[in-house]
Symmetry: D2
Subunit: 353 residues, 4 copies
Amino acid sequence: MALRVAVLGASGYGGAGLIERLRSHPDVTLAALASRQFLGQPIDAAWPHVAGLVPLRFVDSDDAIAAADLVFCATPHGATAPLVEAARTAGKRVVDLSADFRLDADTYATWYGPHPHPERIGEAVYGLPELHRSELPGATIVASPGCNATAATLALAPLAAAGLLGDVPVVTIVTGASGAGRATDLGLHYPELNENARPYKVAGTHRHTGEIEVALGRVAAQGKDGRSRGPSERVRIAFNPVLVPMNRGILATAVACPQGVSLNDRDLLERYRDFFDGDPCIVVQADLPQTKAVAGSDRAVVSVRWDERSDAIVAMCAIDNLGKGAAGQAVQGMNLALGVKETTGLRMEGQWP
Amino acid sequence: MALRVAVLGASGYGGAGLIERLRSHPDVTLAALASRQFLGQPIDAAWPHVAGLVPLRFVDSDDAIAAADLVFCATPHGATAPLVEAARTAGKRVVDLSADFRLDADTYATWYGPHPHPERIGEAVYGLPELHRSELPGATIVASPGCNATAATLALAPLAAAGLLGDVPVVTIVTGASGAGRATDLGLHYPELNENARPYKVAGTHRHTGEIEVALGRVAAQGKDGRSRGPSERVRIAFNPVLVPMNRGILATAVACPQGVSLNDRDLLERYRDFFDGDPCIVVQADLPQTKAVAGSDRAVVSVRWDERSDAIVAMCAIDNLGKGAAGQAVQGMNLALGVKETTGLRMEGQWP
Amino acid sequence: MALRVAVLGASGYGGAGLIERLRSHPDVTLAALASRQFLGQPIDAAWPHVAGLVPLRFVDSDDAIAAADLVFCATPHGATAPLVEAARTAGKRVVDLSADFRLDADTYATWYGPHPHPERIGEAVYGLPELHRSELPGATIVASPGCNATAATLALAPLAAAGLLGDVPVVTIVTGASGAGRATDLGLHYPELNENARPYKVAGTHRHTGEIEVALGRVAAQGKDGRSRGPSERVRIAFNPVLVPMNRGILATAVACPQGVSLNDRDLLERYRDFFDGDPCIVVQADLPQTKAVAGSDRAVVSVRWDERSDAIVAMCAIDNLGKGAAGQAVQGMNLALGVKETTGLRMEGQWP
Amino acid sequence: MALRVAVLGASGYGGAGLIERLRSHPDVTLAALASRQFLGQPIDAAWPHVAGLVPLRFVDSDDAIAAADLVFCATPHGATAPLVEAARTAGKRVVDLSADFRLDADTYATWYGPHPHPERIGEAVYGLPELHRSELPGATIVASPGCNATAATLALAPLAAAGLLGDVPVVTIVTGASGAGRATDLGLHYPELNENARPYKVAGTHRHTGEIEVALGRVAAQGKDGRSRGPSERVRIAFNPVLVPMNRGILATAVACPQGVSLNDRDLLERYRDFFDGDPCIVVQADLPQTKAVAGSDRAVVSVRWDERSDAIVAMCAIDNLGKGAAGQAVQGMNLALGVKETTGLRMEGQWP
């Protein structure tokens, strides 16, 4: 019998992505969708693109948790930990797309304030399958990574594993608008963002900075297939994101300057291919990544170059922030937690253009 | 009597910007516009937005040079040097928007191949007014800077002057599509670029890399108001550009990691304000720059932050690649060369949204 | 001595356009800018693109009215009539960009509800200079037209004058997002509008429908140069607007099916050229209009074709909704009211691309 | 055993959509992809988004036809008829996305010139499943409709069936850029189309005009489920398309003015619901359609309103020009021709945003 799943925060963009993927996932049944804003309304009221396809009405979180065996939380950080606690107390499994179970309690406190349920954190597995695949089966809480963290970590993980991060890797993220969510805001009013490129939360103030540093630190200490609560080296990155006028897509451009090494494109690429060997959602290629190649897809495209003028490595990763950066990766995490084939229900190829 | 000016390459985007500014410049008369592609046709055939406003037809370069006292070259690199040579031989002044007179012969050869008229290079003044203001009056060849070079150099010049560039500053450029010119290309076909972020010429292969290094090297050696042929320190940058779906605008995000210093936002900003004091086209501000603030404008917005996590300086600059990055700066250079008020004919505020 | 002008609603897009044009208008001084939202803050807080250029702080409407000889109202309909009343009572001239003084009291009531100051309406002149040029000099209230009304009326006015509107002209408007103003709204949240074309207020429910019908009715009754309170024939149009993902621009496509006539492109174009002869802000051309040709400009481009398959006239008009559709036309109206050259301070050519 | 299918013109946008859908279609095997431009290259060279997913290289048309049981032609009109002839001669079934088999020989000649294989036309079934469902099973040539024709015909078909088209329905199409194909063209160069709305082929000169008139004429004569070679009434429409800056999507706004009837929204909507009852790819709704609701989807959204001011019906249809307007509809046609469930392999919900 199919597992019953619910989505909390189902009227946000993360929720839309989950509905799109779970609706036709062969191993689950979409049992309940929760939304405070659209409570009691049919799904079509929030999502015109599934008109007539999802015969449900939005319920509240309690009812959604009660109706399901597994709960996706696509809700804001801070507000999510109590929902996870409630779901776990009721014996439900959780895939959490918020930040609430990605970090240990101390690191969480640095970026988000005191954690309301620190005792639950030990249960959570960081849901980046490429770095935690052997740890995910059976996980009761999958802490699905942030979109920027996914892109930056995938770009740099092979270097972290090889001790090639140098002193302070510089990560610049170009990101589309949907990552900021569906809430209105003057900065995301169409005429304000269209024809505009705008940095935000630069100079180490973006909360994903800490998540990336921890994720890369684990790879540096444990190698590719690590434990969420295992050892981590100290890593510092200079992280700066830029918002640009597109709906979907993150392109991470990371520059690392390891001391005293001389490399070349071919060797670097080979190293990346080896590192991601066997990862069905990672494309390693010589051509530069572009976000269109992953629009609507749950895969990531990674490439790497050697800059011989400045003795620097340039590593790049393109993802769809709502695919591999959110809903797709959450479903991938669920699949692994459940022991289902990793790519079930995922969108491999998106669409062009 | 007004100076007669001509524009070569007047059917490209740089040409459009020049027509828009020169048409109403009080000290010059638009005497001739040259275009190979639109030869003999009225100006409206190339530029619907000036329909009825410019009572000229496109002529060839020879005729345009003959008709003018001063010639703007908005023509491709390589093809421009012979045009400049012809104009100078005829005793005409030149403002060159191409790369052909920005670099010394050796550096030019590294990036573009052998220079066809190296003996003319000594005559040229690098037309970044903020760094060469006292050298521009009377210049017979103004070598107007590249758009990416303008943004990167303005972002980092105050640090170069203060010895704060560190080992290898990392410069990531986000750029709109018009910088690639008006020639059709599959990568700039609307559906291919819209909803796409795409790196290109990364890892030190973009030709503006050399121009930026030289410009910053001069500032490091000579300070703010330097000589184009004066001394230069060796500077290396890691330069990576990303094309994003917008028409206009460049945002440069530069990260410098000077060793053994600890700084803060306020001091850095004060340093930037001091450096650009008296520059009418530079806005130094605490708020992060955004390209919309300079769309249609000939000003640059600059800001700077201290990243205390990674001991790094984040310097940012936003320009309109067709304004301060091309036509606006070229007119600014002409004004200074002619002894006219620097901002005459420039567009200070553009438009919002 | 320059006339002192104030702008009410100066933190909206109409306000930005007025600031951009009035700041450098040779016959006026920008005396005061009012904004409730930004009250007390410097202008740069609302408008980064004029940073440092407008040495004022936002004041309230009373203070703005007191400080000026002429007041621009870029405020919402309904809220504007009392501001106009206050300004007129204080003896100030008014250019009103809202709908409040465009219609007679009865028509106004049909679309907007009861008019709060119907006795003032007789004073107002409809500020479409091409149709009311001889009535504007000396006007104390200029009722500047709506953006959609401007595009539709200019497209069809020559047909109205010639009795060629047929039974029910069908007007379809394609419009950019800035026409909806600067207030946040989910429908204008960037990811919701980008990659979306969305009809709204179709089937005769858009308030500009009435304004267009009245304007065309006056032309049908009085010809090109009419009186705002003069006779009007009854005209009915089928008006349907579609919102598309761009910042600026309106393209009106109007189809008229006059009975029993057979026309051709050349004669129609000639008729349009004659009608708009002497109008400095109208470009009549054989090529189809496009909004880019008027982006940032205060001109309108008009063209017309004969559809021989269906015996229909296709008339098209492109404007920048914030230029000829708002701020530009308001300044044009002010110029005529003051007896200043009609195009003073206007932007003729905008920019490309 | 799965049917072997080939795609000719597989490096164009129609080809991409077919690859995306056919790759995972359970009843077919993707046997060959033909492209002249990418001949001999791997599929990834043309389509980065399917990197590693389609283990084929582009072949020429002859080889592709030979390798398949059924051939999709996503090739230009004129060039396609000979390919269809070759495929049919070899006994292969054909789904043709070009215009070559949509019209009878005379009508074809009016719009496209003499038909090279008029004797084959009788074999073709017009592949708009909603109007030809009972005719499609067993069809050897499915002539898949044009994108604009699909949108306009679906919007107006219920009115045609009810005799409510009036004299000359006015159809205005707003369309994204991908409909123009993947060939570079200055008008589709990113900076030229972005921030631009541009009418093209207006006043009855667009070739889809004839196709729409014929399709509606058949409905008027035969009702909903007609024969491609059955009787047709004479219908004339006034068709005007406008290109706007988006990748995907067509919104058709059609205004019909039937004489002497008075209708209302509810009755019209009911009529539409009845007409499209049982059509799995049509959503009839009271809310206005928007293209985002069908982006990436193979469904159409239709709505209708009564304009009581002008006694007009406003009918609207939104489709993805590459989904229901091209690849999706072609696969839908194939499914019906083969007797497979109509929606197999189709994308019902696309994605939001």
